[in-house]
């Protein structure tokens, strides 16, 4: 289980937003959104805040830190 998990896929789907639309709004590539959603890449704090802002939820609803997780 990764150290940082996220609910971006679920939150994005609830807003009927595509990966490309989210990527455009936070200023990253679609491939980066895919990597974040698959828990293969942990974004910078700045990007994490942008994701939360675009999805309209608090940061800790998007990303959760698991101290027992392994990368």
């Amino acid at each position: 289980m990764p150290t940082i998990r996220n609910q971006i896929r679920e939150l994005r789907a609830a807003r009927e937003m595509t990966q490309q639309q989210l990527a455009d709004r936070i200023g990253v590539t679609r491939q980066t959104v895919i990597a974040i959603e698959q828990d293969k890449y942990s974004p910078s704090l700045e990007t994490a805040f942008k994701v939360a802002l675009v999805l309209g939820v608090p940061l800790d609803q998007c990303f959760q830190y698991d101290p027992r997780g392994k990368r």
């Binding site: 990253v28 590539t29 293969k40 974004p43």
Partner: protein, 142 residues
């Protein structure tokens, strides 16, 4: 060209293709290396890279690069640096061995061309390692 690839990935595939197409024949087909051939190869790399990168840029609408691209680029440079540093140690060790044992029947000019080729080969291997590492990182979605 696959549409699932980002601009950076397409660019890296083009670089790897160019490197293999130009360096491959040089190192595996040419028996006698020379300064002219090295210069020709550098010109070929520049021309091919310019053409391919221009085509990719023309056919890719979204050309943004982000933090993940920069992270992967850094990983590539680290792999390239470790490769060239390791090869340098091996190369210098071989030079020391040849100098100590003294079984290198070459005149000074041949010696110069020999080491030009060897050290250029190290640069090439490091460059290919750098590009390949970045492609692997993209494929593993890191």
């Amino acid at each position: 060209m696959p549409t699932g690839l980002s601009y950076r990935e397409k660019s890296l595939y083009a670089s790897l293709l160019t490197e293999l197409c130009v360096y491959g024949p040089y190192f595996f087909l040419h028996q006698h290396n020379s300064v002219n051939k090295v210069a020709g190869m550098i010109i070929a790399i520049i021309v091919l890279q310019t053409i391919l990168q221009a085509i990719i840029a023309a056919f890719t609408r979204n050309r943004i690069t982000d933090e993940r691209d920069r992270l992967i680029e850094l990983r590539g440079y680290r792999a390239g640096y470790l490769t060239i540093a390791s090869l340098m140690v091996v190369g210098l060790g071989m030079l020391w061995f040849h100098a100590t044992v003294g079984h290198l029947p070459m005149d000074n000019r041949m010696m110069g061309l020999h080491f030009l080729s060897v050290f250029f080969g190290m640069l090439v291997v490091a460059d290919i390692t750098k590009t390949a590492t970045q492609i692997v990182a993209y494929r593993r979605a890191i």
